[in-house]
Amino acid sequence: MVWALESRPPCFERFRVEILQVVMQVLVGITSLLLTMLILLHKGRGGGLSDMFGGGVTSNLGASGVAERNLNRITIILGLLWISCIVVLGLITKFDTGA
């Protein structure tokens, strides 16, 4: 198996890396857009600037319902996907320029 991998023509190897790169780029783009939208869907609890640097205590009105909890779950999964795609893309770029 190892022998088979090594005997492949280098241009084929190069081609495969490029496909992976393109797929990852598309994935990063899509997940970024989706992530931004999902985060905007969340209910803001920032409280604004006044309590940011010393103000009253923010009251947390309303417990998060089922919808919010599901939204949290989806956002976390998507966030993990997003960050891992970026890392893979970064690794490809690094080894590509290094090789």
């Binding site: 803001g44 920032g46 604004g48 309590d51 970026i86």
Partner: protein, 440 residues
């Protein structure tokens, strides 16, 4: 004190909250080191090492993002777009009546305002990431005198690569915003301010060791002593307030009595917090930015006004810059206090619930009195802010450290302010279960 700290970790609820907060902070720092796609990590590191200590265009912003900006990481913009967006929304309350009615509406209206702030944050994220990437692409990120590595920070120049970087950094801004909100909701303290705190504190060890290496151990010790003194002073002024006494009339509703108690309105010496400093420094970056854009091509003479700006308005050691900084901070302090504290509203509320300040009639005289007290107490507050902001500019140009030294200006105010708030919140959580908290 130590038993109180031990008690924090014995309280399951509080332990969980603090653990959550620390976890988010760790994630935030981790993300600051992941480079965005198409960024040449090696070249960026080379440039960072080569340009350490020199002042570039993006110093303050880089400070607020914990050094992530110049690394062109996924979280390069940090919390800055959110701060800018909240400041803008807050200022728009003066201009747009709709925003003001929303603000006065109570919780539901304010959550609408928060939602507007979030949309604006994303919009600003797109704008700022585009600017950042354009600057990085043109090679001017590390100043004009950079070496060739610094002009090749991005590996791919195609339009789709640039687009992808912008989208990624914008998503990063959104993620930071969400993490801040999560901390506010489930952790300890206010998430956004804790994240700023983290970014600023993350730069402390680096710049301290840089000073130690460049200037020797004795300078380092002097700097540390000055730092401790400044922190003590800031804590003192931040905690000081004038208490305007308020007497509530006794009311009988049915068989119960209400009111009849003495309270006070706390008027802090520094009511505006750090916001004036942030305003003033971002406004003073505009001339430098203008000069940067009008930099002539190599071999040509720069126009006279560009030379004048770069001689007078770009660095912290220029007298005109210092004077303008100081005056702007004083002006913005008054401006911001006027926005956040409305004496007429407070007087109206007091009248409604039967309260009055002893010796002063309810209604308009009360509002006038409050306004008088507020204006008088803001004067030392604003001068204090101005002086604190000037400390790094004066003291450290004497020693020779670089001017965005951590112990001074906006950073120290933010770190101390956020630290105090967070400790107070932990304390109040502790007091729900025990009689004694962290603070005595």
């Amino acid at each position: 004190m130590f038993s109180a700290i031990a008690r924090i970790f014995r309280t399951p609820d509080l332990r969980k909250k603090i653990g959550f907060t620390l976890g988010i902070i760790a994630l935030f720092r981790l993300g600051s080191f992941i480079p965005a796609p198409f960024v040449d990590f090696g070249n960026v590191q080379l440039c960072l090492a080569a340009n350490q200590g020199t002042s570039g265009l993006y110093e303050l912003v880089n400070l607020f993002s914990g050094g992530a900006l110049l690394q062109l990481s996924v979280f390069a913009l940090g919390i800055m777009p959110y701060i800018t967006a909240s400041i803008i929304v807050q200022l728009l309350r003066v201009v747009i009546p709709h925003f003001d009615t929303l603000y006065k509406e109570g919780a539901s209206g304010q959550s609408t305002l928060t939602q507007y702030t979030r949309y604006l944050t994303i919009a600003l994220g797109i704008l700022q990431s585009t600017t950042l990437i354009t600057v990085a692409r043109s090679g001017a990120l590390f100043g004009t005198s950079a070496s060739t590595e610094c002009t090749q920070l991005i590996t791919n120049d195609a339009w789709y690569a640039i687009m992808l970087m912008v989208i990624t950094m914008t998503a990063g801004t959104g993620v930071i915003m969400w993490m801040g909100e999560l901390v506010t909701e489930r952790g300890v303290g206010n998430g956004m301010s804790l994240l700023i705190f983290t970014s600023i504190a993350a730069l402390f060890p680096g710049s301290l060791s840089a000073i130690g290496q460049q200037q020797g151990a004795d300078t380092l010790i002097i700097v540390l002593i000055v730092g401790v003194l400044v922190v003590a002073g800031v804590v003192f002024v931040e905690q000081s307030q004038r208490r305007v006494p308020v007497q509530y009339a006794k009311r009988m509703v049915g068989r119960r009595t209400y009111g009849g108690n003495n309270t006070y309105i706390p008027i802090k010496v520094n009511m505006a917090g750090v916001i004036p400093v942030i305003f003033a420094s971002s406004l003073l970056y505009l001339p430098a930015l203008l000069a940067q854009f009008n930099q002539p091509a190599a071999g040509q003479e720069a126009p006279a006004w560009v030379v004048w700006i770069s001689n007078n308005l770009t660095g912290g050691d220029q007298p005109l810059y210092m004077a303008m900084y100081f005056l702007l901070i004083i002006g913005f302090t008054y401006f911001y206090v006027a926005i956040t504290f409305n004496p007429e509203e407070v007087a109206d509320n007091m009248k409604k619930y039967g309260g009055f300040i002893p010796g002063i009639r309810a209604g308009r005289p009360t509002a006038e009195y409050l306004d008088f007290v507020l204006t008088r107490i803001t004067l030392p507050g604003s001068i204090y802010l101005g002086l604190i902001a000037l400390i790094p500019l004066i003291a450290f140009s004497v020693i020779g450290a670089d001017q965005n030294f951590p112990f001074g200006g906006a950073s120290i105010l933010i770190v101390v302010g956020v630290g105090l708030e967070t400790v107070k919140q932990i304390d109040s959580q502790l007091q729900q279960r025990h009689y004694e908290g962290l603070l005595k």
